[in-house]
Structures are given as C-alpha cells and as structure tokens.
Amino acid sequence: MPSLKTLKNRIASVKNTRKITKAMQMVAAAKLRRAQDAAVAARPYAERMGAVVASLAASVGNREGAPRLLVGNGADKVQLVVVMTSERGLCGGFNSTIVRMARARVQVLQAQGKTIKILTVGKKGRDQMKRDYGQYFVGHIDLTEVKRVGYVNAQNIARDILARFTQNECDVVTLFYNRFQSVIAQIPTALQIIPAQFTGAATGTVYDYEPDEGAILADLLPRAVATQVFTALLENAASEQGARMSAMDNATRNAGDMINKLTIQYNRSRQAAITKELIEIISGAEAL
C-alpha cells in the first residue's frame, strides 16, 4: 500500500501531465485548421494540373518519343521508395502506419527481385526504417526547420527525385504518405509518381498548343511531380495534426481516469488511517 504522501504526489504529477496533453491537443487543433486550409487552397492548382496533363498525356502518351517521365524508361528494376513522415512524435500511430505500409511494399518488391532505394522525408520515418533497411538509404530530406510546408519544399524534394531519375538511378518512384480523411482517420497511401499516372478526366475540348504538345508536356511533367509531392506534403501535415489531436485527446482522457482512480485510492487510505487511529484511541480508553 503506497503511503498517503506518495499518492498525493502521484496525483499532482498526473494532473500536470493532463494539463500538458490538453494544451498539446489544443495546439494541434489550431494547427490542423491551418493545415486543412492550406490543403484546400492548394487543391484548384493540383486539380487543373492533373486534368491538363491527363488530357495531354492521352494525346501524346502513346506516340514515339513520349517523355520518359510519363512512360518510364522501360524498366522497373530499381524502385525508389519515398517515405514521408513527420518530424515530431506524440502523434499516435501516424508514423507507424506509413512505415508499416512502406515496409510491406519493400518486402513484396524484394521478393520480386527488385533493387530498393529509400529516400526519407521527416525524421521519424528515417529512424523507424533505419532499423531494417538502413543499407538501402540513398538520402534524407530534413524539414525540421520548416514551420509551414511551402511549395518551395516540395520543389526541392521533386528536384532531388527528378535528378535521380534523369541520372538513371531509379526506374520507378513511389511516395508513401497519409491521406487526410478526418481527425480520426488517416489513410496510408502509396502513390506512384514516376512513371506518372494521372486520373483526371480529359475535358473533351480541342486545344491549340503553343508550343507543341510534346514540348508543353515535357515542361509540365516535372511541375506535375512537384505538385504531387506538394499535395502529399500538405495531406501529411494535416494528417499529422489530426493524429496528434486524437492521440492527445485520448491521453487527456486517460489521465482524467487515472486521477479519478488515484483519488479514490487516496481517500480510501486516508479513511483507513483515520479508522485505525480511532480504533487505537478507543481500545486504549477501554484498557484503562
């Protein structure tokens, strides 16, 4: 039986923990709002880009000499896996779900005899992937210093990926990130960006192209890759805050439960001590 003093200290400490998790939840809620706004604001660009590239790809894609970003370089031997995670922990299963999915994919690809290369974005994913696949790492992109992800960050990542592709260091590039569905549901997603896969509906309008279709497509595809990376970054940011919010909500509730339990225990032992003292006094009086 712990003493009254230790129980009291314990309750005070759990109360402090609850205060912290509560504050973290509120901060996450505010950040989530901002992240969601950013994701919504970025949507028109991504949608337009997808639609235009899709309709261009439909008309140029099957021709001889189509851009390699679109049709690939004819091989799928070297697979670049881009694992996008958060820079900070305490966000529930957010990082683990991405890493688990990436790991499963790596195992499947290895079983098929492919060469794996791993590029990580975000510290947490790097730490988790390093344990099993450290030898496949080809790079890491650090966003610790970045307060709000901007298009510039996406451009840097895209530039890195494109450079690797043009230098024939990889054949297929797949992004792993969490798609934001709601505060309690984030869906781990694998998106293959090279060779590009676009699922926008062609508009049906017949356009003139200036310069010609091929040149436009060659110009747009790298941008489209950057846009996809940007979308993934934003979705990830929103998911991270959502996951953190629900994790901290749970933690706050658990701390509350624990305080209740400890308080009951504290009161019981206090009552027991009083009863014990009374008995001692009474039996002492009787003995006289």
Binding site: A38, A41, A42, P44, Y45, A46, R48, M49, V52, L56, G150, Y151, A154, R159, A163, T166, T205, V206, Y207, D208, Y209, E210, P211, A215, I216, D219, L220, R223, A226, T227, F230
Partner: protein
C-alpha cells in the same frame, strides 16, 4: 462593350485571383498574347513576365515566374509556379526569383532553356521598374 471571360490565377499554394475580365494579357512562351472573350481554345506555357488582367475595376498586374495557361472561349486559367501582385513586388522577392532560376540553371542539362528563363527574369525586372 465586349463580353467578359472568367479569369483564374492560381499558384500551388492558393488562388490569387478569380474575376470576370474583359481582357487578359499573358506572357506566353512564344510571345505575349491578349485574350478576350471567344478566344480559340489554347494551352500555352508561360515565360517569366507580367500578366495584366483588365476588368471593370481596372487593370491588375501580376508578376509570374512561369507556368501555363489554359484558355477556352469563356475561361482563362493561369497556373503559375509563383505569382505576386505587381504592387507587392519587392526587390527582395525579385532577387530571390533570379537566384532560384540561376540555381536551377546550374544543374539543368538544357542550358539554352534555363538561360532564357534567367534572361526573361532580368527583362521582367526591368519592366517592373526595379
């Protein structure tokens, strides 16, 4: 009075403008072009330059760093990599744009194209009066 066309200017991060314009001048890759209602459908890439949208409220100018425009008879959507309203343009942003382009030019194998982008940017700086 000519009819209007719906003008949208979006950057990857946000929608900068959405208004009914009577005429939009864009810096196309193969020369500037003015777009009015009923223009033939065109998709064109943009070079760095200044975009002017004329509407009932007057003329709005934006500095764009490249991207592309999709034109149909009733709509023009400009997807700009980076776009800044001309009045908010500062030498610092301009220098940053030039620095970015120079950096990209250094690693790009297609020297002609990237050098042209830098040259276009410098011309744009002159046009913006900075």
């Amino acid at each position: 009075m000519a009819g209007t066309l719906q003008f949208d200017l979006v950057s990857p991060e946000r929608r900068l403008a959405s208004l009914a314009a009577t005429e939009v001048q864009i810096p196309g890759a193969e020369g500037d072009m003015g777009v009015m209602e009923g223009h033939a459908p065109v998709i064109t890439t943009l070079r760095p330059g200044i975009l002017r949208a004329t509407s009932a409220e007057g003329v709005k100018s934006y500095v764009v760093s490249g991207g592309f425009a999709e034109i149909t008879g009733a709509n023009i959507s400009v997807l700009a990599e980076q776009a800044v309203p001309l009045e908010e343009m500062t030498p610092a942003i301009m220098d940053q744009m030039v620095a970015d382009a120079t950096l990209a030019a250094a690693v790009n194998p297609d020297r002609d194209a990237t050098d042209k982008v830098v040259a276009d940017l410098l011309a744009m700086r002159a046009a913006a009066g900075q």
